[in-house]
Symmetry: C2
Subunit: 592 residues, 2 copies
Amino acid sequence: MINRRDLEFLLFEVLQVEKLCERARFADFDRDAFDAVIDSAFVLAKEEFAPLAEVMDRQEPELRDGRVWLPAGAQEAVDAYIDSGFLNACFDVDDGGIQLPNSVFIAASVVLTAANVGLSGYVGLTHAAASLLLTHASEQLKRAYAEPMVAGRFFGTMCLSEPQAGSSLADIRTRAIPTDQPYYRIEGSKMWISAGDHQLSENIVHLVLARVPGGPPGTRGISLFVVPKLRVNDDGSLGAGNHVEVAGLNHKMGCRGTVNTVLSFGADGECRGLLVGEVHQGLACMFHMMNAARIGVGASAVALAYTAYMQSLDYARTRPQGRHVGNKDSNSPQLMLTEHADIRRLLLLQKVFVEGGLALVLYCSRLLDEQSAASNTQAALLLDILTPVAKSWPAEFCLESNKHAIQVMGGYGYSRDYAVERLYRDNRLNAIHEGTHGIQALDLLGRKVRAGGGRAFRLLVRRIEADIEGVSDNASLVPYAASLSAAVAQLIRTTDTLVACSKLELSLSHATGYLDAFGHIAVAWMWLRQAGCASEQLAAPGGRDTSFYDGKLRACHFFFTYELPKAVCQLLVLQKLDDSLLTMPEDAYLGS
Amino acid sequence: MINRRDLEFLLFEVLQVEKLCERARFADFDRDAFDAVIDSAFVLAKEEFAPLAEVMDRQEPELRDGRVWLPAGAQEAVDAYIDSGFLNACFDVDDGGIQLPNSVFIAASVVLTAANVGLSGYVGLTHAAASLLLTHASEQLKRAYAEPMVAGRFFGTMCLSEPQAGSSLADIRTRAIPTDQPYYRIEGSKMWISAGDHQLSENIVHLVLARVPGGPPGTRGISLFVVPKLRVNDDGSLGAGNHVEVAGLNHKMGCRGTVNTVLSFGADGECRGLLVGEVHQGLACMFHMMNAARIGVGASAVALAYTAYMQSLDYARTRPQGRHVGNKDSNSPQLMLTEHADIRRLLLLQKVFVEGGLALVLYCSRLLDEQSAASNTQAALLLDILTPVAKSWPAEFCLESNKHAIQVMGGYGYSRDYAVERLYRDNRLNAIHEGTHGIQALDLLGRKVRAGGGRAFRLLVRRIEADIEGVSDNASLVPYAASLSAAVAQLIRTTDTLVACSKLELSLSHATGYLDAFGHIAVAWMWLRQAGCASEQLAAPGGRDTSFYDGKLRACHFFFTYELPKAVCQLLVLQKLDDSLLTMPEDAYLGS
């Protein structure tokens, strides 16, 4: 459940997505077409996705006779997703897609993920795998594997981690042994493989990172392979099994609807893998996909918190409990929960986190559109630096938001009679997969803010400053603009300090604190942009939706009053370059 | 799993619990006796409690034929608890107890709760119910109901909430209708009743809040009743069923081993209740018990996070993953997780939260001992003001700590193969029950800091200042002492501002932010006290356990560097008396 009014505000008022239709790539679309996509997402969410959410959590996928089975209804739901044109939405028309802007697609995905994150996993991975092949694979591989994915006949997976190599991909061991045929022989095990098996599609296309023997060690010796569950004949028909075995299932705290598997390749027969791109260039291919995948994780984190917010708000509006502070007349009627200051605090925290997070992921999706429409260098730079933030900030703070949704509902929120407890469990995943929170932080501080002498960082600062300048004639927003300006100044100072620090390890030991503060400032910026739009609308003659816009201004005030100072405080701490994270000896945790 | 060395440090070095043996009440104990209690807790935890923790989470209690059944083994475990002398530990010898200091008992309870929170629920509620009766009930009721609880033959519950009245006890409706017999007829429903039925004891003693018709409305018209599951004859033998029905079970996200019930009283026959204390004085009796019960919740929150910390630390010490930043040699061996700065951050956050939280709950338990040994007024005042903090700070920040334990372990932490995901689910309860986080905040800011013209608050400040003064000749601790002093000054200023605010609603709208900052300052104080002891030990000739004490100093540094500034930042925000939590209209969340 997402507030459609908010989605439309962000897409069409803040991000002005309609302007994309002026670009050749998106010229076939107009506002009506975008509305129809959003309509369709809400219908699909309500009719197919949401009704299965609870059952997919409670009846986990089962492994029987080496195959994974999902609860009844999952097939129909993914079929409806494909039939509604979501699987092929963003691909080029030439590849069987419809060239929908990514920003509209992500908006629709948020609606669907909010309804059922378990199902979203299967189609999301297929989307990602097809994108990767369409970007990096040969025409032959595209035809044989990517096009059936775009058409929804094959589904996909990403096989990176191994039991001994999670965050450290340099240490993967799966081998790809050349043969005298056009394929390699794949041998090894992969861990944490989402959607690694199921009966939802005719075939499953695993994208597998593996080492060709004799290559360099570490990440420079990793290649990427297409490894289908069933082999595909030259005419496109399905052939024999390819010896990809489900060695076991991982049982998770949440996101239980998306099966998580241990896969074994080639243990009981020849498992064939087809090289994608150049040998030893596998990680580069994979990273090419990372921006979209990571923004997708951020969007998922937002979706899970957004729907919990809506549910807790709905509860708070209809649950009578207690009276105003100081009212001792027990015969007076009880107030609704929404009348209590602390409940308002919990609701406003959720509002600023989920709407701010949504604004951020849609902003990044809009950058993806700029990039795909016109190979826009500035968009690419901004996307590079914002991606770890758009992945991580929602994973961290939208989980916090899920926590508040439970709190609003008290004991009921902690019970399994309401969805908020499930959504909290689901969202705990997002700081872990697709690069942990700490890995994203190293990406931001270790690479992105340093790249090109800080080019992306300076560009981002200019963009924020332009928006600050943009509200300078709006007296009601000037105080927020000034706060943001001061926060950005501290961010610059902290960045300079950390980048200039001669000891790289010391600098990077502060990466996570830096990421969190950076994220808060980015979201404050999103709130200022929203407030700017809302303020204009309220000032317009014959104003409509005044409550909605008023809410945006109040949320902006709340974020700037209670949240932004935390980021500034954090930055001041980081500037001290404390070295205690480098010096803690292992024995000192418990004593010895 | 709790670090025994830490427990002993806090009890015997920081709190000097042995000195309690100089008091008449505790004169029968010595250090050896205390050690034996702790020994016994560790044995019981390992042999009886821990082995059942996972199974009690997975096989929830079942309702069959109107009765609740627990998994096999639960009976043996609680029997062992009783046999080890924990159920009667703190009661007076005259009441069948052994007069163990509460601080030692809480230390043991933390060990047991860390091993199995589900089992702890049954015995903890029995302890609380027996305490209440021993304080407030007639001799006859004590003999009939409290003594069998102390002996472990009967178990107890607390029946406060109703489906329509959670935080708002003023609105409970359960009725107690006088009869021409010495008992009342109880009619109504109670919600969220932990341990409301089971087969672990011969009988269950429900302590029920109900209204005697004709009494004043609201909380001034609530009385307290003993309502046994089975009636008790005058000779102490068990009589007929008392028409307390289990109307249903609530299924929770965590703490699943402690059954949670909806109870119906008198729906199918006469349910007899016996008045405890005076009519209409029920809530006062109940509140009398609150300090101990709330500290117990804080202790439980600490226990759940402490054991997760130990497990994630154990994992991090033995899991190789990745290399030092800048080391591109993939042939070099992988580092253990503990070598990575971000993992150290996650471990140190856990260390400061769980050890700081444990220090706080044990400090409060020690105050309970002062109070019981000598009716110490200062101890009572400190306890009053610290209780909402000792309940809430661990519930909030030890949950955060549980989150970090999962993060250290990555995908494994999110899987159900390790306990850390369960412990996170378990701990989410503690901010909800026994008075929500928001209710505790109102108690602190609305009552405790204002009571007696701020007498308790001023006393607390003097105690903190005395400890600051106490380390003034220790150069290495002076910077922390100065930081704490500055933070306390801001706390005083904020308290003055909020108390002086003429608009009570505005002042109290900041209660939760105030509570959180207050808690951080209290825990900083606990860290300074620990650092003071550790520093002395390190300076002593022939120092032993240097790693342990060094760890305490490093943790103190970490808390003061990274956590305390957050509290100061929060206080500065509160001083502005922003009124947005009072003015948010309901329509502004979503728009209309």
